[in-house]
């Protein structure tokens, strides 16, 4: 009797097999992981049945990190080493962080991104976020019983390139294959729209722990088209806590407090805010280390009053997004509320008043982003063959380059549908100039100093010519994750020089490898084993994909081309099961290169089919006129 074959979990997933993929909401306050199981998007719980993982990481003297509730419980006891709301530091320098001096951390100003000095060494926000993601990855693998094919990680729509790149780096550091960075409001719209079969223009108002997003989307026949997005990547529930905290200091006439007392009162402030969601007033009592005690009552009216300017700060980006979309509040069919902070009654009331309708709250505002991300991860992993819906997202902030006088020349305007590419030509300023330096920035202001600096790079080897004769073409490409790459090319002499820059704060592959190697759970042997396994998985995946393509579209190849591909497949198959990692990698790359032309032909064919599938007469008409 023939034995049935069972693959090792995560390895050699046959095309029909369900690939394990998750959606992760990496939040300022809490993080979640969700997946699609038996067609239903579900949040995965920890061993104690809890869905939320507090985004808190506490570093211990032995180098280990505690994550989640355990770390949260220690934040007052060990404030220096317990990092909360790390999302606020992603892709940010010290000067970008308001109230940095009031926080209990030891910041280290590093180029590009701030770092934090802890008892376990200096940590970058990327590493801290990776600790959170690792816990979620392990939770998912444990709960799903296998290795993950990939993950969709959500980011605030208003995150700039630096913040997105940092998030992607954190995911890679946590050993996750990032299928896509997905904007949080768009993820919420997927969960909401598919659930409600919605059609028309919707606004997603997403007020999280530390970020605010507003997205205006048009939902039509399975297409989620983001028309405009706006927001504030440093505004969220934390700021409401901070307001209550300051109010307590004023009311109780407290002197400047130590880190422990500050942490205690901030926690009290948050609890009072949450209490006021259901109750008309909250009592705040605390005994402080400094010997003083606090006993106060905060009414709902006072809370509304002291946080009024924060609520107004969300309506300004809302107006801008509507204006960019060319719409008014009356054009919006529904307002979807996302993020735990939208539970505040004064926020609900203000948003309802602005749009002239009751906001929609039928999905849990804490979970809707993760649920939507899981639905998209399931599609991106290739578990659904039928193409049901399409997400067309935009970049939130304009991308440009510095020109003479510190001015910004915008290359790609905000709210451009991604992926998008634009090129602009520049020339030399002086006779005989052989190099040009470029400064890439993001933002809406005209002055470079008021935009975010993304990267600086130089193009050398321009042949000496008179000023203005050189032609340097700078191309900006933004991919589907909203990440930018820039290429500069001198073309007047026919000699081309291409420089592709990665923004300076981004981690190189070497750095990621080094960090992985340094961390205790990935010793060098582990790394080699992991690399081999990844190559094997990749080899099997590619073989399956090419075979499927051949079965479907083999007719696009002549005999010689077909034989060449078969040969390359045979070579990869011969090494794929073995232990020679470099040989597998080499054969993989050879097959990849050898099938590029086939992929291009298939794409051409699918576009032709997509067009002709509709009305042939229109096509012919187009060619005649």
């Amino acid at each position: 009797m023939a034995l049935l074959q069972i693959a090792e979990p995560g390895l050699s997933a046959a095309p029909h097999q369900h690939r394990l993929a998750v959606g992760i909401d990496l939040g300022t306050t809490n993080s979640l992981v969700a997946t699609v199981r038996s067609g239903m998007s579900t949040v995965l719980h920890d061993e104690d049945g809890r869905a939320l993982l507090p985004s808190v990481v506490r570093y211990l003297p032995d180098g280990f990190a505690e994550v989640g509730y355990a770390a949260q419980a220690k934040q007052s006891v060990d404030p220096h080493n317990t990092i909360v709301s790390v999302k606020r530091f992603m892709g940010r320098g010290v000067k970008d962080i308001p109230d940095a001096e009031r926080m209990p951390y030891h910041f280290v100003d590093a180029p590009g991104m701030v770092q934090l000095k802890t008892v376990a060494g200096v940590k970058s926000p990327v590493e801290v976020s990776a600790e959170i993601l690792k816990v979620l990855r392990e939770r998912a693998e444990h709960s799903l019983g296998g290795e993950l094919v990939g993950a969709v990680i959500t980011v605030p729509a208003y995150f700039d390139d630096a913040q997105r790149q940092a998030t992607k780096d954190a995911a890679r550091l946590a050993g996750l294959n990032v299928l896509r960075l997905l904007n949080e409001p768009t993820a919420a719209a997927v969960a909401y729209g598919l659930d409600n079969a919605a059609e028309g223009v919707y606004a997603v108002y997403d007020l999280g722990g530390g970020t605010f997003d507003i997205s205006i989307l048009r939902l039509s026949k399975g297409v989620f088209e983001v028309l405009a997005t706006n927001g504030d990547s440093a505004l969220g529930g934390d700021d409401f806590d901070q307001r209550v905290f300051c109010w307590i200091l004023e009311q109780a006439k407290l002197p400047p407090l130590g880190p422990h007392d500050s942490r205690t009162l901030l926690t009290k402030a948050r609890e009072a805010k949450e209490w006021l969601t259901e109750q008309p007033e909250a009592t705040i009592t605390a005994m402080l280390d400094c010997g003083m005690s606090v006993e106060l009552t905060l009414t709902s009216e006072t809370f509304t009053e002291i946080t009024q300017h924060l609520v107004s700060k969300t309506l300004q980006p809302t107006r801008k997004a509507l204006r960019d979309a060319g719409l008014g509040p009356e054009d919006v069919k529904g307002v979807v509320m996302v993020g735990g902070s939208t539970r505040m009654p004064n926020v609900q009331k203000a948003v309802g008043g602005f749009f002239g309708q009751e906001p929609l709250n039928n999905l849990d505002p804490d979970k809707v982003v993760a649920l939507g991300a899981a639905i998209q991860a399931n599609v991106l992993a290739g578990n659904r063959a039928d193409d049901d819906w399409l997400l067309l997202d935009v970049i939130p902030l304009s991308l440009g380059i510095e020109t003479m006088g510190g001015l910004v020349e915008k290359i790609i305007p905000r709210n451009s549908t991604i992926p998008v590419a634009r090129a602009q030509e520049f020339t030399t300023f002086k006779d005989g100039q052989t190099a040009m330096s470029f400064h890439v920035v993001q933002g809406e202001r005209e002055l470079v100093a008021e935009c975010r600096s993304l990267a600086k790079f130089e193009l050398r080897g321009i042949p000496p010519m008179v000023a203005g004769a050189a032609r340097v073409r700078v191309t900006f490409q933004v991919d589907a994750d909203g990440l930018l790459s820039v290429t500069a090319r001198e073309k007047s002499t026919g000699a081309e020089t291409t420089v592709t820059v990665k923004p300076s704060y981004g981690l190189s592959d070497e750095e990621i490898t080094r960090m992985l190697t340094e961390s205790r759970e990935h010793a060098v042997d582990d790394m080699a084993a992991r690399m081999l396994r990844e190559n094997q998985v990749e080899a099997n995946r590619l073989l399956d994909a090419v075979q499927a393509a051949l079965d479907e579209d083999g007719a696009l190849l002549d005999d010689k081309e077909r034989a060449a591909i078969d040969e390359l497949m045979g070579r990869l198959r011969a090494v794929a099961g073995g232990g020679d990692s470099p040989a597998i990698k080499q054969a993989l790359e050879a097959l990849n290169r050898g099938t590029e032309f086939f992929a291009a032909r298939r794409m051409d064919q699918s576009v032709r089919r997509a067009l002709s599938g509709h009305k042939l007469s229109e096509l012919e008409m187009g060619e005649e006129s």
Binding site: R19, V149, G150, L179, R180, K221, V223, Q316, R319, K320, R323, Q376, V379, L380, A381, G382, D387, L390, L391, L392, S416, T417, I418, P419, V420, A421, Q477, D479, A480, R541, L542, A545, N592, R593, T595, E596, F597, A599, A600, M603, D604, S606, V607, R609, A610, L611, G613, H614, E618, L619, M621, G622, E623, S625
Partner: protein
């Protein structure tokens, strides 16, 4: 390997070239193409396919955005006929148009100084009417008379109007904050 983008944007969507365009048809064709080439369809594919998909989706976005907006569509049509709209270099305009421009610009400044959002919104509405008029003229010049030099001048005027519109938006934003 890059995809063969020899097609012009009208051919890509299977539309007859012209200023007058069936917007619903364009929307539909654009979605049909994106649903085939978008990077979300290739998230689990190999690097070569991912790159190809990004190039295709980028091309489709560029083509769609160009045809969707009247100003860029007119500019593109003129390019197809070998006419450069020279928006940066040619600033000669009919005197009456320039006079009106100056009036509008003064109107924006006055409304801004007087903190008058309603006046700015009124100006924006007038501008929209002016824009519609220029678009109708473009249709006649491009699709009917095939008078490309006159169409190029109209494109330049439309560009002026667009810039004014942006200034009004900035003024409204400044007053709101």
């Amino acid at each position: 390997m890059t995809p063969d983008f020899h097609k012009n944007y009208f051919e890509l969507f299977g539309l007859p070239p012209g200023f007058r365009i069936d917007m619903a048809l364009l929307d539909g064709k654009y979605r049909d193409i994106q649903s085939q080439v978008h990077p979300d369809r290739f998230a689990h594919a190999d690097e070569a396919q991912k790159r190809l998909s990004m190039q295709w989706a980028t091309f489709a976005n560029e083509a769609y955005q160009t045809l969707k907006q009247p100003l860029s569509r007119a500019r593109y049509l003129l390019q197809m006929h070998g006419v450069d709209t020279a928006e940066e270099s040619n600033t000669a305009m009919p005197p009456a148009f320039l006079m009106q421009q100056m009036e509008w610009r003064e109107g924006i400044m006055e409304a801004r100084a007087a903190d008058d959002i309603a006046a700015l919104e009124h100006l924006a509405a007038k501008l929209r009417a002016e824009r519609r008029g220029l678009e109708e003229r473009l249709e006649k010049l491009l699709d009917g008379a095939k008078d490309y030099p006159a169409a190029a001048e109209t494109v330049r005027m439309l560009k002026f109007i667009e810039k004014l519109g942006e200034e009004i938006n900035l003024a409204i934003e400044a007053l709101e904050s």
